[in-house]
């Protein structure tokens, strides 16, 4: 009997709360979900992206919002816990009625969110470079696909630095494994012998790099120009670079080109021994463009810290957010279905002074830049692609995915259409 009373009490309170809060909040805002970990391992990277989103939304509201309506950010914390990402995403869409979600960092968290987003037919923007081999109707990939980061970087090493021996070093999870698989196939297609490729995987947060660095050193001392292609993730990079410095591996002898080391990672690091090592991204804070200076200015004043840096995933959110705003304006509504259709072909300024476009495969066009680490923790851009590179969802160098294309425009409407069998194999990756 008491239990029944309690339940009825709760129900009463709940209905009261919704009665009060409902009308005030639902006034006329467009709700934007922000799904980034604010605690746990990934907080180090994702907190910044949450702040970026808040800044972008605040800025848009100052300009009068979208379609005359103000934007309202709904921030949730999935706490670096992959299943929680799915749960929080469901909450955002079903309970908070958000029209779009910006979020995730790791591939595994994206994969966790994916079924929910598809089931509820929402719109999701993913801002980090990833391994490709995916194209969902509901996801927009504003980070780099392998052909927008890894392949051009390898081209640069091969053609400009004359690299002949390759160390593919990565953390042991899906992104490095897939990227290295693609790179290995690509290198072999370019005539690199098996004995000139060394692949190495280490656990998350690996901190004792002595053996591996010593192996790299002897692998690179056999007379051929050697380079390390690093997909080492997050925290493990600091001890890795420290060990490189201590074992006197100079960037001019064995350069390391990293795909996961940006300005933010370097800000936690004494960069003197790293000068000259490389990173490949689509944006660097040091890009010389008026729009970039403006963005940095806005960011440092928003966060209230002059020393804070900007990085590539932040730019991806910047592009993604502006594309979404334009798509909503074009569609005349924030309805996910309408936005999905309107956004293809939308172009918006990126921070390197050019323009990025949303492709039919839900990836975007970006320039690829190679930067050298400087003593002040910034990158000097030493090479860039002559034009924009369109993101390729399905790699041309893997046997299974070679024949797949993705085109979400109306006649085809398929993320993995097989040109050989002329079949859309459906949403099972």
């Amino acid at each position: 009997m008491k239990l029944y009373k309690d339940i009825s009490k709760i129900a009463m309170v709940a209905s009261l709360v919704t009665a009060i809060s409902g009308p005030t909040f639902a006034a006329d805002t467009i709700k934007v979900g922000v799904l980034h970990s604010l605690s746990g391992t990934m907080a180090i990277s994702e907190t910044t992206l949450k702040d970026t989103m808040l800044m972008l939304i605040e800025d848009q509201n100052k300009k009068g919002g979208v379609l005359g309506r103000q934007l309202e950010a709904i921030v949730v914390d999935p706490a670096s816990n992959w299943p929680l990402f799915a749960e929080k995403a469901r909450g955002l869409i079903e309970k908070d009625n958000v029209d779009v979600i910006f979020g995730s960092w790791t591939s595994v968290s994206r994969k966790s969110v994916l079924p929910v987003i598809e089931e509820l037919n929402s719109v999701f923007f993913y801002p980090v470079q990833y391994e490709g081999e995916e194209s969902s109707k509901n996801v927009f990939y504003t980070g780099a696909a392998p052909n927008q980061q890894a392949i051009p970087a390898v081209d640069y090493l091969m053609n400009d630095l004359g690299v002949e021996r390759w160390v593919l070093a990565g953390t042991d999870y899906v992104y490095p494994r897939t990227t290295n698989k693609i790179l290995k196939a690509y290198l072999k297609a370019n005539g690199v012998a098996d004995s000139d490729i060394m692949v190495n995987y280490t656990p998350f947060g690996h901190s004792d790099w002595q053996t591996i660095v010593s192996d790299i050193k002897s692998f690179g001392s056999e007379g051929k120009q050697t380079a390390v292609v690093s997909t080492i993730n997050g925290d493990a990079n600091v001890p890795f670079y420290k060990e490189l410095g201590n074992q006197d591996i100079d960037a001019s002898d064995i350069p390391v080109v990293a795909f996961s080391v940006g300005e933010e990672e370097l800000s936690g690091l004494d960069t003197t021994p790293l000068v000259g090592h490389l990173a490949a991204w689509n944006y660097f804070m040091s890009v010389d463009a008026g729009v970039n200076d403006e963005f940095i200015e806005k960011w440092t004043s928003f966060i209230g810290d002059d020393e804070r840096v900007t990085n590539d995933p932040m730019e991806a959110h910047y592009i993604g957010f502006n594309m979404w705003v334009k798509a909503v304006e074009k569609a005349g509504s924030a309805d996910p279905e309408a936005v999905q259709e309107a956004i293809i072909g939308i172009t918006t300024a990126n921070l390197s002074g050019g323009v990025s476009a949303m492709m039919p495969n839900h990836h975007i066009t970006k320039p690829v830049l190679i930067g050298e680490i400087q003593a002040d923790g910034q990158f000097d851009i030493i090479w860039e692609t002559s034009g924009l590179v369109a993101g390729d969802a399905w790699s041309d160098f893997l046997p299974g995915s070679k024949d797949l294309i993705s085109d979400w425009r109306s006649p085809l409407g398929c993320g993995n259409y097989n040109v050989k069998t002329a079949k859309c194999s459906g949403q099972n990756y």
Binding site: I44, D208, E222, G223, G268
Partner: protein, 581 residues
């Protein structure tokens, strides 16, 4: 002092200039020289003398003007560095090296350090120092201070690896006559990778005056490596003989080339034999290296675990927040470095006691506030301390932000002790092994020789009897926990030199720490020492063939099996009380 260095500089400048110019103009010089020979007959002595006098007259009149012009030219040359094209920049750097002005060395060094900027409006290239978002500039040629600019008015002269390499080798050649023997040695070694006729000629010239035995030897190595490609087979054999057992990687590469390509059967055989000798020596040193890696990895494990060996081993408390106490030690190092930014080398010595105090204090608070209240309830203690660990992590996140913090490595801890071409031991690892042994010895002394140690041992062996003898067991518990926590803090100082200083630092080490303590035998510090070194060495010997991931898995499986057989670890505590537990 001043004059001798100047003299050395000028001698060396001449030498380098000589071979660089030769290198560049060798081919072009042949033609004009022949032409001069042709015209030689037309020149009488008289004519020659008058020519000379006119020449000197001209030189005499124009020399002040000329030096002025030269200065102008040099600045012009420097200004060209503002180009964006790296290959053009490379050529300009080459020319700066060739000009060999007194400022060249300084300019090259500043380029390496990224202090050279170009002023956007005038395209003038200057030295700039950044201070409070302003750039104070100085003229590179006459050292005069210029205006102060803002960030948007100047752009940095960027260099890439190719240019950096060029600058470094040029600077190294300038160092061949440096007063310091070790710098000369380093300069000679840095030429190993790009040995050419010119380098060898320079070496042979320098060999006449060089006094240090080590430097002479390495110069001979340069000459021998060059002779491996001599046209004369007997020269090649001689070179192979003199390089026997040399462990420099370049020697191995060259020998392999000889084995594959040499036309002379004798040379090939000789090279084969020399390579075998080198390979067997390399194997020996590689084993040493692996052993060293194992010991250093082991000492990190011991440092992380030894505090736990006290709290868990001696007191029997499972403290899941142990890793966070290590993290606090690392953050203390960071804060100490912030407080004394100009004394990074010294900061470590301040950080050690500071980290001990901070972690010990937090440890005592945890003990008084949480663990004491859960005395004897192992599972509740485990859960409560796990909660404490999360709280500590989040506190650090709120205070210091979730981003990693950069802890600087002091000069004396970076780099490596080079024993030969194959084996070099990194200084930071050497220091950490030594540090680990010192901490261990001090702890053993504290437990064995002090009255606190006596009381700790008494309480851990038989609490009620110790209390009956007048030992304040509560106070001893707090002190023991403080000691264990403080040692964790010290471990944090050491780890800050190896890995990230971030909120997750502790989590990475908690499992390893428990592993070491359990494997070594609970309650036995010596067991912790042996098991730490043992696990480190086993891990490092397995890593080359199993990979880092599998090695870790295998170690865990091994420990699980071992614990099945000997539940009390390697060195179980003996005695009545131990068995009663």
């Amino acid at each position: 002092m001043e004059t001798t260095t100047l003299k050395q500089l000028s001698v060396l400048a001449r030498i380098t200039k000589f071979w660089i110019i030769r290198n560049k103009w060798r081919h072009q010089m042949v033609v004009p020289f022949n032409k001069i020979m042709k015209y030689k007959n037309f020149l009488s002595w008289q004519r020659f003398a008058s020519f000379l006098s006119i020449f000197f007259l001209i030189v005499g009149v124009f020399s002040p003007l000329q030096s002025f012009a030269k200065e102008e030219n040099f600045q012009d040359l420097l200004d060209q560095l503002s180009t964006k094209d790296f290959s053009e920049k490379f050529n300009i750097v080459e020319e700066i090296v060739l000009k060999n002005n007194p400022e060249t060395k300084f300019i090259l060094n500043s380029l390496l350090e990224g202090k050279i900027y170009s002023i956007k409006s005038t395209k003038k290239v200057v030295l700039a120092v950044k201070e409070n978002k302003k750039y104070t500039t100085t003229d590179l040629v006459n050292n005069e201070p210029l205006e102060v600019f803002t960030k948007s008015e100047v752009t940095k002269v960027r260099i890439n690896n190719k240019i950096r390499k060029k600058i470094k080798t040029s600077l190294a050649l300038l160092d061949l006559t440096h007063a310091d023997e070790s710098i000369r040695l380093g300069a000679v070694k840095s030429t190993y990778k790009s040995i050419s006729k010119e380098v060898v000629n320079t070496m042979q010239l320098l060999l006449k005056t060089e006094e240090s035995e080590d430097v002479r030897n390495s110069m001979f190595v340069v000459v021998s490596i060059y002779n491996l490609n001599s046209d004369n087979p007997s020269e090649r054999i001689k070179a192979i003989e003199s390089l026997e057992g040399n462990l420099e990687p370049i020697v191995k590469v060259q020998l392999k080339k000889l084995i594959d390509n040499d036309l002379d059967e004798g040379v090939r055989l000789k090279a084969q034999k020399a390579l075998e000798i080198i390979d067997s020596r390399i194997n020996i040193f590689k084993t040493f290296e692996t052993l060293f890696f194992g010991l250093s990895f082991g000492s990190v494990l011991i440092l992380a675990a030894i505090g736990l060996a006290i709290t868990f081993g001696v007191m029997g408390v499972i403290n899941m927040a142990h890793g966070e106490l290590i993290m606090l030690g690392a953050y203390t190092t960071y804060v100490v470095q912030l407080l004394m930014p100009s004394h990074i080398g010294l900061s470590i010595f301040v950080a050690i006691p500071a980290a001990f105090l901070v972690s010990a204090l937090v440890g005592i608070i945890i003990e008084r506030g949480v663990i004491r209240l859960l005395h004897g309830r192992v599972l509740e203690t485990l859960l409560a301390t796990f909660g404490v660990s999360l709280v500590l992590q989040q506190i650090v996140r709120t205070i210091f932000s979730p981003l990693n913090r950069a802890v600087k490595t002091p000069e004396w801890m970076s780099g490596a002790l080079e024993i030969n071409g194959i084996l070099s031991l990194t200084w930071n690892r050497l220091y950490i092994i030594a540090f680990c042994l010192i901490v261990f010895t001090v702890l053993i002394m504290v437990l064995k020789k002090t009255s606190l140690g006596l009381q700790v041992r008494a309480v851990s062996q038989d609490r009620s009897m110790a209390r009956a003898m007048g030992v304040r067991s509560n106070w001893v518990d707090a002190m023991t926990f403080g000691l264990g926590s403080g040692v964790a803090g010290i471990a944090g100082v050491a780890l800050s030199q190896l890995t990230n200083v971030g909120p997750n630092l502790g989590q990475a080490y908690i499992i390893d720490s428990f592993m070491v303590v359990v494997f070594g035998g609970v309650g036995n510090l010596w067991g912790t020492l042996i098991s730490g070194f043992g696990l480190g060495v086993i891990n490092k010997f397995m890593e080359p063939w199993a990979g880092a991931v599998l090695a870790k898995v295998l170690i865990l499986i091994f420990i699980i099996l071992f614990i099945q057989k000997r539940p009390r670890g390697l060195f179980p505590q003996k005695g009545r009380s131990a068995e009663a537990n």
